[in-house]
Symmetry: C2
Subunit: 307 residues, 2 copies
DNA sequence: ACTGAGTCATAAGCCCAGTTTATGTCGCCA
DNA sequence: TGGCGACATAAACTGGGCTTATGACTCAGT
């Protein structure tokens, strides 16, 4: 009531402006099947429910999404676009789902995975989706922790397969490199360095206060090693997420895993600063107890992760 | 009842296993603020509502997410992981939101954008989010179509700024290259080419039946030009999405924009096949009517898109 | 100790979005 | 012209999520 201007923001957060997951799924089904009734059947609801749901989604968005005809329904142009955006939301939700299922401590798990935080956050959900696609019955449980914790679980036979980032591997474990990760320097688009063309020298990086993870973290170790000394922290934060948030907010340049900032880079919330002579690469490895070469589900997962 | 085995899939689609957007937003707020009540305040609901919502989310996922104490609430380890996955869902929803708002035909728009499909699908939501971050009041409207339609809108003064992919620019329009896009060859992980080390030669690509967009599409034109002849279609489909789906399903190798398959590559639903001597690059350009150099909101958006 | 301000939990009642069942309308095809 | 499929409409039910009101607990300051 006492509200200002065009109430397009204030009025309820995201959840009120974006259709819920069920509606988005329904839209995808309509797009795929070309029929409201068919989509309804697939989702196990009745046709009027689907009809009304699509209708209310159109009302909510203020855009016609599907062309109804007595012979079926096709997406409008706008509908096609919306559907593509919806697909990305649903895919993120699928990753969430498969991750959350693995997180639940299930006794009956046939595959117990232990992974470092970065890998569990950014890579594992994708792998688990792929695994589920080809072996739908494999129940997976996930335990996330640092490298030491992963090693511990494997050696105690509380996990079948582990994933760690970093240079060294604990004794008693075999490993194979499955991917490479680069640490990169990023800033908010407004920062001076964002417009910079000339690559950054190590010396320059070493004397600039940076937004960093806490001392002892994997990324910090790699950075210190590469700089041949200690990086100067502007702030120290205890999670990748917090570092990202600070960088996006314009607090300064940050050093982060490429994996962590893919989204932010493509949305231009962050900009990558070119690096000259510094190599901030690190290996991502799958690990398992020496001798216990992965078999069965563990082997399946492992083979998915190798490029 | 008559259901088989561990009912972890059957039982309701995604929407029933994944908390709704409101709950995920709430979780992010709790993570950021360290307090249920604080998060509730921020979202404009009462503390008991937040409390109960988090609780039911924990019940739904079967995992404890937050440690409550009389001094506040902190995420558990599992909660931190879940929150990170939740953030990705919410970010996708934000992109959906800003896109959908622009799609709505608003007379009062201060910035009217026309964009080709690929750009509207994959890049524009990110740009609009960035734009909203720095100019919250700019109302944007979006019109998606092919290059010709974009040109038409601009010349009819029905759009202020356009974005197109492709080589040529219609006469009467000025343009600037804002990014580059590569077409790449992808297959399902099971395909022979997925394990291939030796890069693919143009000659080889030319004789292999491929999953392609329809003739006349931008990607098809670039491909034909690069092969110095015509690509052989295995199937022709009318949307990027359909091509992706076919490729993921293992129908064969496909040629697609790098932009379209980022997600699929990182989730290993698709694998990139290395190319030897073929260059499938194309420019992405911002365009505007000759002489009407972008000013105001259009200039703001344009400057966001340039790397 | 006591009080006050912060936290979260519990209980009871309200409300609306989304659902189902039942029916109506329209177009196409045999 | 009947019949089938697809979508729309109407009315009644249900439940999840909300609010208000209250209670229990911890900490800090007096």
């Amino acid at each position: 009531m006492t509200q200002s201007a065009e109430g397009q923001f204030r009025a309820g957060s995201l959840a009120h402006r974006v259709p819920d997951l069920g509606a988005l799924e329904l839209l995808l089904a309509v797009a795929r099947l070309g029929s409201l009734g068919g989509a309804a059947r697939e989702l196990g609801i009745t046709q009027p429910a689907a009809s009304s749901r699509i209708r209310s989604m159109e009302r909510q968005l203020g855009v016609a999404l599907v062309d109804r005809s007595p012979r079926g329904s096709r997406l409008t142009d706008a509908g096609a676009l919306v559907t593509d955006w919806a697909r990305r939301v649903v895919e993120a939700a699928e990753a969430f789902d498969v991750g959350a299922q693995a997180l639940r401590d299930r006794r009956d798990s046939r595959l117990r995975v232990a992974a470092s935080m970065t890998i569990a956050e950014y890579l594992l959900p994708g792998w688990l989706l792929a695994l589920r696609a080809q072996r739908p019955d494999t129940a997976v449980s996930l335990l996330a922790g640092n490298s030491a914790a992963v090693a511990e679980r494997l050696l105690a036979d509380e996990a079948d397969l582990g994933f760690v980032e970093g240079v060294s591997v604990a004794s008693g474990l075999d490993s194979v490199v499955i991917a490479h990760d680069n640490l990169i320097v990023v800033t908010a688009p407004g920062h001076v360095w964002a417009r910079r063309r000339r690559p950054l020298e190590a010396s320059e990086l070493a004397v600039t206060p940076l937004i960093l993870r806490e001392k002892g973290s994997g990324t910090r170790q790699v950075l210190d090693a590469a700089l041949g000394g200690l990086a100067r922290p502007l702030i120290e934060l205890s999670s990748t997420t917090a570092v990202k948030a600070a960088a996006v907010g314009g607090a300064g340049p940050a050093v982060l895993s490429e994996l962590a900032v893919g989204e932010e880079l493509s949305m231009r919330r962050l900009v990558r600063v070119p690096l000259a002579d510094v190599s901030l690469a690190r290996d991502l490895r799958a690990v398992w107890p020496t001798g216990h070469r992965p078999v069965g589900p563990a082997r399946d997962l492992l083979s998915l992760t190798r490029g």
